[in-house]
């Protein structure tokens, strides 16, 4: 055995050899070299000679950490080597463990427990420190549980070097094994009074991490932190203490009063930028109601903004962004600096500046700011240009376009934005254009105008980012064709040859829009001609028949002859565009026939398209044309001869077209939804009736406050919205399948999907109701919204800010997962800080715990006094109603009872003051619960 291992040792390559070899291998062949080395290592690592093994493991760790080689197979060797007597071997073994072990899956971790325990109790501080740092890297619940006693001992080690590492390790142990809190917490708190800066810094750092997750549990330690804040002069410690207070102050308002002064003092005194910045951040996040401090902080921010160091400038802008949330004046004061930063070379700075500029947006300056930003966007590189555009879109659409009052301006602006060469925000612009179309009735004429300009421009097809915008423009042109000045022109634009450049998806929208335009033209033509004649009466029965026969006929025989005809017509249309000059008022038979022919020629080939969407829609249009065309020809022929004969035909056709209209356009048409009857027993109407009343009340004050635009907005909102809501409601169930289908086919159905979803979203619109107690307040909120929004019910889906909503939800989910752990820790913390009553308090925090669990908790409370207080908190909680507040209060109470004799004295004093005669514990508590619930939380600190 000694033989091979000696040979291995003699000829073993060291880590240096491997590194040199790797540096010499020609690029591209590293993996072969690594593979070869790994084979060597596999052999060497089995050696019984610890030195050989150590070198092999060292090489493996290197290849793993820097070259991504797998070393999970070697975990046991790490464990084995860790028991080596030589510190260097041990170090290699533990390094390999901490770099490669997965705490959740590496099974041999448990085999390390014994060795770690041994090393944690070693007399050599470097063995101990190595074990601590390994433990914090690979800690899992089992290790944490088994080694808590050793770490606990080290927490009071007289060697600072070890003690601070033990404190740092405790964080991981708490995370993995919350019960350790019960053991260690007290000793950790004791370390807060340590004079050694190293220890103090680590322990404050530990609390900083802990407060990050669940600040409330650490409120009772505020006096200790305060002492450090006032006495300590170490920047590292102060930064962490500031971070802790930034979390605690929002929970205990009176804390702010106390800390604002020392923090301002530090800010004025310190020369260290890091500390100064932390002071600024703490003030602007948590002490924003203290004007003097904020002013001081803003002054400091200005200094940072003027600094040449881009880091400071960047952080200054970040801090300013925080200030902006509550003290917008600070941004306005530094407006020039911010705008100047927009053209900084640094992307970070530019982005922060952009964010700030957007935070300044209000209804008064939105046009101005957008103008500045667009000119900035035109100067910028494509990436930042799109950042700017994205921010503009987001801000303007925020809260249902609340900053936009001149929608005509905004839709024109959107049209221009789409044409910016680098613009990649087509989808967003598409959404907003359609969305505004749906919501803002008054904007539609301008919207149609903008859409026309977009659709008609053949140059735009070249830019793929434009296609989504074009889809919106096409949809708008089709949907609101009645507002168009020249439907024929729109039709031509929708059918222009370059549409072949569009994706099938967008193309389908184009075809459908053409369909709408066609039906519109036909029906208005027929109405025109029908005016003279009596409207259809007898033929209702025959209509479906005609449908069938017509389609059969056309499929069978007419196709050939028609295409011939079309070809002729094409020449005409391409050459002269005969109807371009015709307005709706100039509907003539010729123009209609030419229009029909144009459509047929252009869509004919698409009926054979390989794209289902395109094919289907083209076929729909062609089907209609085939139905109508013969009749149109009849019209033509007959009109030349005998006017009287036209009428029956025309009236029949009106029927056919209207059938086609309602059948095909139903789901898309805005009106179609409104035709759905209201089912019985729908309560929504009443509710909305109330809403309208409130709306009526609201009209006056609001319309006076917002001049110009407001009055007609009021008209537009209250009534149509009310109607659409009410009437679309019933469609919910019956259209659920349809909605599914629409969802799948996306874009074209956008509008109608919204419609379909109205009913689903309806509760969401009333969302505040769930939380708010006051119903009137609720309604005021709603009406406030509806005054701005034209069609609120539609808002939920296409609203660009949906992204935001998703984010919010995502965060919530993530937080929940984290909270569970934090909860366990803080639960334990409270138990330590307040004894048994912590069980009550942990219940308060977690809605996760079942009510059963709560009962158990209550029963478990052994000390009579604490039981008393448990009941107390419950009662007072009920008194407060709002659940959020209740937590707050009950918490404060618990504190009161937990704390030492001092508190009780304090209690007694309060009792005397609150002079409710009965002087009973209970009532007293309730009384001061209202006013100064939390006074006992940090009693010695406040008195």
């Amino acid at each position: 055995m000694a033989g091979p291992s000696l040979m291995d040792s003699l000829f073993q390559r060291s880590l240096d050899d491997i590194i040199k070899g790797l540096r010499l291998t020609p690029p591209g062949t590293e993996s072969t070299f690594i593979g070869k080395s790994l084979n060597e290592i596999r052999r060497e690592i089995k050696s019984t000679d610890p030195a050989t093994k150590a070198t092999a493991l060292q090489k493996l760790t290197y290849l793993h950490s820097l070259h991504g080689a797998d070393m999970s197979w070697a975990a046991f060797h790490s464990v084995e080597l860790s028991s080596s007597a030589a510190h260097s071997h041990k170090r290699i073994a533990f390094l390999s463990a901490s770099l490669s072990f997965n705490p959740n899956t590496t099974e041999v971790i448990l085999l390390l427990t014994h060795q770690l325990r041994k090393d944690l109790s070693s007399s050599n501080i470097h063995d101990v420190s190595l074990a601590l740092s390994t433990l914090s890297s690979i800690c899992n619940p089992d290790l944490a549980r088994d080694l808590t006693p050793e770490v606990f001992t080290l927490l009071s080690s007289c060697k600072v070097f070890v003690r601070k590492k033990a404190i740092a390790t405790v964080l991981r142990i708490f995370e993995q094994y919350p019960d350790a809190v019960r053991v260690c917490f007290k000793r950790i708190v004791e370390n807060l009074e340590n004079v050694d800066m190293g220890v103090l810094s680590t322990v404050v750092g530990l609390f900083c991490e802990l407060t990050e997750k669940e600040p409330r549990s650490y409120l009772p330690l505020a006096p200790e932190f305060y002492k450090i804040l006032v006495d300590c002069r170490n920047n590292w410690v102060l930064i962490k203490v500031l971070k802790i207070f930034a979390k605690l102050v929002p929970l205990e308002p009176r804390l702010g009063k106390r800390v604002v002064e020392p923090i301002s003092e530090h800010l004025g005194r310190t020369g260290a930028k890091s500390l100064a910045f932390e002071c600024v951040r703490t003030i602007v996040t948590s002490l924003s109601e203290y004007d003097n401090a904020v002013k001081l902080a803003v002054g400091k921010i200005l200094e940072l903004l003027l600094d040449d160091d881009p880091n400071l400038k960047y952080l200054g802008l970040q801090a300013l962004a925080i200030v902006a949330q509550k003290n917008i004046w600070a941004v306005l004061e530094n407006k020039e600096l911010v705008v100047k930063a927009l053209s900084d070379v640094d992307v970070n700075i530019k982005l922060e500046a952009l964010r700030l500029v957007m935070s300044m947006v209000s209804e008064d300056n939105v046009m101005e700011i957008c103008r500045i930003l667009i000119s900035q966007a035109l100067k910028s590189d494509p990436e930042f240009c799109n950042e700017i555009l994205g921010f503009i879109l987001l801000t303007c659409a925020r809260n249902f376009y609340e900053v936009i009052f001149y929608f005509d301006w905004y839709v024109t602006f959107l049209g221009e934005m789409a044409r910016i060469p680098h613009c990649q925000k087509g989808e967003e612009i598409e959404n907003q254009l359609v969305d505004i179309g749906l919501r803002v009735k008054d904007a539609r004429p301008q919207l149609v105008h903008v859409a026309r300009d977009l659709v008609i421009d053949p140059a735009l097809f070249g830019n793929p980012f434009m296609h989504r915008v074009l889809a919106a423009a096409a949809w708008i042109s089709g949907e609101y064709i009645e507002l168009s000045r020249n439907p024929f022109e729109v039709m031509e634009a929708l059918l222009q040859p370059r549409t072949s450049l569009l994706s099938p998806f967008v193309r389908a929208v184009y075809i459908q829009s053409a369909f709408k335009v066609l039906t519109f033209c036909l029906s208005s033509y027929l109405k025109l001609t029908g005016d003279n004649a009596s409207y259809p009466s007898p033929l209702t029965d025959s209509v479906p028949k005609t449908n069938n026969e017509g389609s059969l006929d056309t499929v069978a025989c007419q196709s050939l002859s028609e295409t011939e005809l079309d070809n002729q017509n094409m020449v005409v249309t391409d050459g002269q565009t005969p109807f371009a000059s015709l307005g709706t008022s100039h509907l003539t038979e010729e123009s209609i026939v030419a229009l029909v022919n144009l459509v047929e020629t252009n869509l004919g080939p698409l009926a054979g398209s390989s794209e289902v969407e395109v094919q289907e829609r083209a076929s729909n249009v062609l089907g209609l044309i085939k139905l109508i065309k013969p009749k149109l020809h009849d019209c033509l022929d007959q009109s030349e001869g005998d006017k009287m004969k036209v009428e029956p035909n025309a009236s029949e056709m009106v029927q056919v077209i209207f059938d086609a209209f309602s059948e095909d356009l139903g789901p898309v048409s805005l009106n179609a939804q409104e035709r759905v009857p209201i089912p019985d027993g729908l309560v929504l109407k009443e509710n909305l009736g109330d809403l309208e009343e409130v709306c009526g009340d609201m009209k006056l004050p609001l319309s006076t406050s917002f001049s110009l635009v407001k009055p007609h907005m009021v008209d537009a909102t209250s009534i149509p919205e009310w109607q659409s809501k009410e009437e679309s409601e019933p469609s919910n169930e019956s259209t659920s399948l349809l909605a599914e289908h629409r969802k799948r086919h996306g874009l074209y159905y956008l509008s109608s999907e919204n419609k379909g979803m109205i009913s689903n979203d309806y509760p969401a619109a009333h969302d505040p109701k769930d939380k708010a107690v006051d119903e009137t307040e609720d309604l005021v909120k709603l009406t406030g919204e509806s005054l701005i929004i034209k069609r609120k019910p539609n808002h939920v889906k296409p609203r660009p800010v949906v992204v935001k909503l998703d984010d919010g939800e995502g965060v919530n989910v993530a937080l929940k997962a984290a909270e569970v752990k934090a909860d366990l820790i803080s639960g334990a913390v409270q138990e330590v800080l307040f004894g048994n009553e912590a069980t009550t308090s942990s219940r308060r925090k977690s809605s996760k715990k079942s009510s059963k669990q709560r009962e158990v908790d209550e029963l478990n409370v052994p000390v009579p006094e604490s039981k008393n207080s448990t009941m107390e908190t419950d009662k007072s909680g009920v008194g407060f109603g709002g659940s959020g507040r209740r937590k707050h209060h009950s918490h404060g109470k618990e504190r009161k009872h937990r704390n030492s004799g001092k508190d009780k004295e304090h209690d007694k004093k309060d009792k005397q003051k609150s002079n409710h005669g009965d002087g009973k514990h209970k009532s007293q508590q309730r009384a001061d619960g209202d006013l100064a619930v939390q006074s006992p939380v940090i009693p010695d600190f406040l008195l």
């Binding site: 040792s9 060291s14 880590l15 240096d16 590194i19 540096r23 000679d49 030195a51 070198t55 060292q58 760790t61 793993h64 950490s65 820097l66 991504g68 797998d70 007597a85 030589a86 510190h87 260097s88 071997h89 170090r91 390094l95 490669s100 705490p103 959740n104 050599n124 470097h126 420190s129 190595l130 740092s133 070097f161 601070k164 590492k165 740092a168 390790t169 991981r172 190293g198 810094s201 680590t202 750092g205 530990l206 991490e209 990050e212 920047n235 590292w236 930064i239 962490k240 890091s274 910045f277 932390e278 881009p310 880091n311 960047y314 952080l315 070379v345 640094d346 992307v347 970070n348 700075i349």
Partner: protein, 163 residues
């Protein structure tokens, strides 16, 4: 908390990789690549902070600094101060400089274990332990001594292996 420390050269080759929360090695390599991509796209005279929410989750930032051919990268979250991280990086670099007298990339390349030892004295489990480079030096020297003495006890030959 500090989430990770990375040293890589201007070619994107990692020289030191330490994550304080377990990351599978493939993920590590991927993160290093993404970080390198971000860093090499940045000009010289710009700020040193980068938001890396997309790589590490909400509120995680990194600060980087170039020293000769090396990028030093600290990844950290909300509970650290940005400027303090820059200072800490300075401490780390200073210590390396003292340890290897005029540190260069090669020193870091060939002293994989020692660089880890140094880092472990400065940061433990993502928390800042020591901010004085001389204290760190003291500990590292002691450890080196300990390693040497330990090796002499056990008869072995690594002594001349390196040569």
């Amino acid at each position: 908390m500090i989430r990770g420390v990375i040293i890589m050269n201007d070619q994107g080759k990692p020289r030191l990789v330490k994550f304080y929360e377990f990351q599978p090695v493939e993920k590590q390599q991927e993160l290093i690549r993404s970080i390198y991509k971000i860093l090499c796209s940045r000009a010289d005279n710009v700020s040193n902070f980068v938001k890396v929410d997309s790589l590490f989750g909400p509120d995680v930032r990194l600060v980087y600094k170039t020293f000769a051919t090396l990028y030093f990268v600290f990844i950290f979250d909300n509970s650290e101060n940005e400027l303090a991280m820059l200072d800490l990086m300075q401490v780390f670099v200073e210590t390396l400089d003292k340890c290897f007298s005029n540190v260069c990339e090669l020193d870091i390349v060939f002293n994989f274990n020692k660089v880890h030892t140094i880092l472990d004295e400065i940061i433990l489990g993502g928390q800042v332990l020591e901010t004085s480079s001389s204290e760190v030096m003291k500990a590292v020297d002691e450890i080196s001594k300990l390693e040497r003495s330990g090796n002499s006890i056990i008869p072995s030959i690594p002594g001349w292996q390196g040569r």
